[in-house]
Subunit: 354 residues, 2 copies
């Protein structure tokens, strides 16, 4: 759906740039489920033509749909980087992955990761990289000197994607919405807050890696004062109903002070992924909670649409499902990867006339 560039630079931004050499391969280790492959899948989707393969520790590993490659085959295909494509709980590289990463580094392939741990702390990897002339690129390192959040009202407009859970479309929706706003002639910038978004955009702030005291301040730095008609499209994180991560979500919400938000939801999910004791909130519950908390720094906050992940919904049921959520909320409801976010762009133009 992308024709415009949703991640064009904006004057005055102060987030760090993140660059790695391409083409690249994604490293999937031994992860078993798609949920944990979202970094790999996001890069394959949003940096098309730059991924030349996947490295898996066994055929039982999740298949991201690109060719399996060895280190030698990756080099032969022109790869310059190995991007760790997993977003495991806690953000740690398992010990069982390290030998394969060392082999790649010794062969001169840069290693790129967005985990909480630092690549240089993995046993032997710094030495392997030095031997092979490879770089270790940690994407999940917040910039130094982040301020405490002020709550001061900033110029320009902001729209945030929020979710009923992790890994339910917040990044994809934000990328698509930024592109569709630009296509509609509006000035819009995608603002990355997670490791995958940062790898896709080439910049951003890894909000969940920021020291807790500075999360609202980091969100303020991420979407600074802008021209009156400009929209920052801020990639959301976690969920306000997530027992492990809601503090990240709350800080991002209040620091972003969004004028508008889009709810992202997987209609087939009943519980928080990997937290089976916690039921998913309904979309109206999430709208109500987001407005309640977001009002602290933006009293005018409102929902402008619902984004459903319908990839696993039988095609004959899609239209009725979208219609049901639209009826329930009185808002446009789309799957951004199927019909785009044009209906949400229209709602934004209607609610926030220039």
């Amino acid at each position: 759906m992308i024709s415009a560039n949703p991640i064009a630079p904006m004057s005055g931004h102060s987030e760090p740039l993140v660059e790695f050499a391409t083409p690249f391969v994604v490293f999937l280790g031994d992860i078993s489920a798609q949920t944990y492959a979202k970094t790999a899948l996001g890069l394959i989707q949003w940096r098309p033509g730059e991924c030349v393969g996947q490295m898996r520790l066994s055929t039982a590993t999740f298949d991201a749909g690109v060719p399996d490659v060895t280190v030698a085959a990756a080099k032969a295909a022109g790869a310059r980087s190995v991007v760790i494509g997993s977003a495991a709980v806690g953000g740690i590289v398992p010990a069982s992955w390290v030998p394969a990463l060392c082999e790649a580094a010794r062969a001169g392939l840069d290693i790129v990761a967005g985990m909480h741990g630092r690549l240089a702390a993995l046993p032997g990897l710094a030495e392997a990289a030095a031997a092979g002339g490879a770089r270790l690129v940690d994407v999940r390192v917040p910039p130094p000197g982040l301020p405490v959040g002020t709550g001061r009202k900033r110029t320009g407009r902001r729209v945030l994607t929020v979710g009923t859970d992790c890994a339910c479309g917040k990044k994809y929706t934000a990328l698509q919405l930024a592109a569709d706003l630009q296509r509609a002639g509006m000035d819009a910038t995608f603002r990355a807050t997670g490791q995958t978004g940062i790898m896709i955009a080439g910049r951003g702030v890894p909000i969940d890696a920021v020291v807790s005291d500075f999360v609202t301040g980091a969100a303020e730095v991420l979407s600074p004062d802008a021209a009156p008609g400009h929209w920052d499209v801020v990639e959301g994180q976690g969920s306000l109903f997530h027992p492990g991560y809601l503090q990240v979500t709350v800080g991002l919400l209040v620091g972003s002070q969004p004028d508008a938000f889009v709810v992202c939801h997987d209609p087939l999910r009943t519980h928080i992924a990997s937290w089976p004791d916690f039921a998913l909130p309904s979309v109206p519950e999430l709208i109500e909670r987001t407005i309640l908390l977001g009002r602290l720094t933006n009293p005018g906050i409102r929902c402008v649409g619902v984004s459903l992940n319908t990839s696993k919904v039988p095609s004959g049921q899609r239209a009725a499902l979208l219609a049901r959520y639209a009826d329930e909320t009185g808002l446009p409801c789309v799957d951004p990867l199927v019909e785009g976010t044009g209906a949400i762009v229209s709602e934004i133009r209607r609610r926030f006339p220039a």
Copy 2:
């Protein structure tokens, strides 16, 4: 009011110990307001007999009510440590304080701090400490390996202090409540979450210095499974209505999964301290918000009392003020430093019979 020891060790706790040599002096630099001297004032109050003086850069600095000392006088009085007694916004040591700290370190006095920055990063301080044989003790360093929060229900009971703002009595209330619970024959432990509480208790987790993804997990580690009748009294942080820090408060609330909470409030404050554009919530508003968010991990959460800081209220107006808040909430209302928290202990016993 303290006769029992609210910080007695509890078997099975896993937080790090924090120790520094005593007696100590408090360092106040050039801070002007009592709000920012809370570390110094807390240590003087809750480690009685161990503070032998204060170091101030000028007589315009806030006076903590202990003797002014030079480095030489501090040494003569037996001091072994200099504790930085300020909790400035952002937790940074101003450059203008560094020469005096270096002088103390060169004289062999340990330097103890609970700021976000590391002492060894201050220009010249590590060298001064090495020359003087002094230690640099950073209290605000989270333990390594904190987990992601699980939301799993733990055994034992928990009571959390929450506030309408920062610096409104959450630590004092928790210390007093832990002591009063013990005095009533109950098994209770104070759980420190801030630099001052950790310095007082000798252990704890500096929750606002934890990487955002792990705040709920840190709160879970802080108050682990315990015997059925045991109460952890968890020191609260920030405020759910604070535009800079609410993410810390939310993570601590959901990770602590408190059965009960006490609202701490300064009745003379109208706005968030240092955030004049943000009105203080009312006590009933805060009770409602705390229950709404706390229900995620403890559906039975309830308020068991209100703690007012009445230190600046004319004595003739105290009784009526306490009565008004008690009427408004239907809960016991006390100033813990005047009448103790016995009324809140009674409410806890009534609501949570053994």
